[in-house]
Assembly symmetry: C2
Homo-oligomer: 201 residues x 2
């Protein structure tokens, strides 16, 4: 039985969401925390803050540091070297819809595998062919997940997840929210969030 | 003999600079890293990025998270509970000038003690009386440090330190820079920066 619960809010275009997605599985298992994966879209949340694109593009020095930081952290965590996709931030809409359409058992594997394509292979995750390859690699050999992703009901579900993120105070990705409403922002806070999920306030 | 070197760039108005200042002494000593304390002003650096004040004030949700994060981290590190100063960000000009005027032996103690006044007691560090009390607590019983701080030569030194920060790519505080030019932004990166200072690239 789980000793605690945690909502993991992530956006497929987000570099630090990649690091969190790569790490959260074993860390949560070791802590006995049950994780709910909640893909959402940063676009509307950034727009509400007045950002037209990623702050890493708006502030070039911050962006330079982020890419270097990402390289260092990937090495630190034992992840493959970073390969920057040609376009940043990627359009993560289809990816988020597919992740939303998958069931709870398939979502974590898809999330982790697609992030690896994006930031360890530099692939364009807005390309349906890339998403299809990742799905096939996980045993989904037909277009059903992509078709389900494009249904109105699923689009609405993703929109509701983004609204849920906003209601929880999420302003960036990744974010972690515990059942008592504590919000932890950033891959750097994953350990503290897991700890809080177990210990409580 | 030191096994490595590190420049520690900090701004007295910065909450995460407080956490770094509270932690860097023993961590650097344990790692065998010699730290150069470089107070600087974020104002000109934020202005160059188009910010009129702290991003934590410009983005209320980010600001709310920062204060809660600070409380949690203070508890995590075993620091006193956070007491928010009435004005944030404080005007850290005089504090930075005094820190600059002090010698290398006195600067770390002054830095740590003034930050404690600011974020563990909620005092206004732009108030010369608060700075005088901190100086007295460290054994400086006359106004010489404050007078030295206001000399043109010292003002120029602080300005040069801010320019040196900008030249090193610093865009926020705290930041750590190793002799090979690696920039690490944020209290969260202190350990990695110390590690890099020892191991090299």
């Amino acid at each position: 039985m789980a000793r605690g619960r945690l909502d993991f809010y992530y956006e497929f275009a987000s570099t630090y969401s990649y690091l969190a997605a790569a790490r959260i599985g074993p860390l949560a298992e070791a802590a006995g925390v049950e994780v709910t994966y909640v893909p959402f879209l940063l676009g509307p949340i950034f727009a509400a803050q007045g950002y037209s694109t990623s702050p890493f593009n708006l502030y070039p020095e911050k962006g330079r540091h982020m890419w270097r930081d990402l390289e260092r952290l990937a090495a630190h965590y034992g992840l493959p070297p970073i390969v920057r996709p040609a376009t940043f931030p990627a359009n993560g809409l289809l990816a988020a819809r597919v992740a939303t359409a998958l069931n709870d058992a398939s979502r974590p594997g898809f999330t982790k595998a697609l992030f690896l394509r994006e930031f360890a292979e530099g692939q364009d995750i807005s390309d349906p062919a890339v998403i299809r390859q990742v799905l096939a690699g996980l045993g989904h050999f037909c277009d059903a997940p992509i078709e389900a992703a494009q249904s109105q009901a699923n689009k609405d579900r993703l929109r509701a997840q983004t609204e849920r993120a906003q209601a929880a105070g999420v302003f960036g990705a990744p974010s972690f929210v515990t059942p008592d409403g504590e919000l932890f922002w950033g891959n750097d806070r994953l350990e503290l969030a897991l700890d809080h999920a177990v210990r409580g306030a």
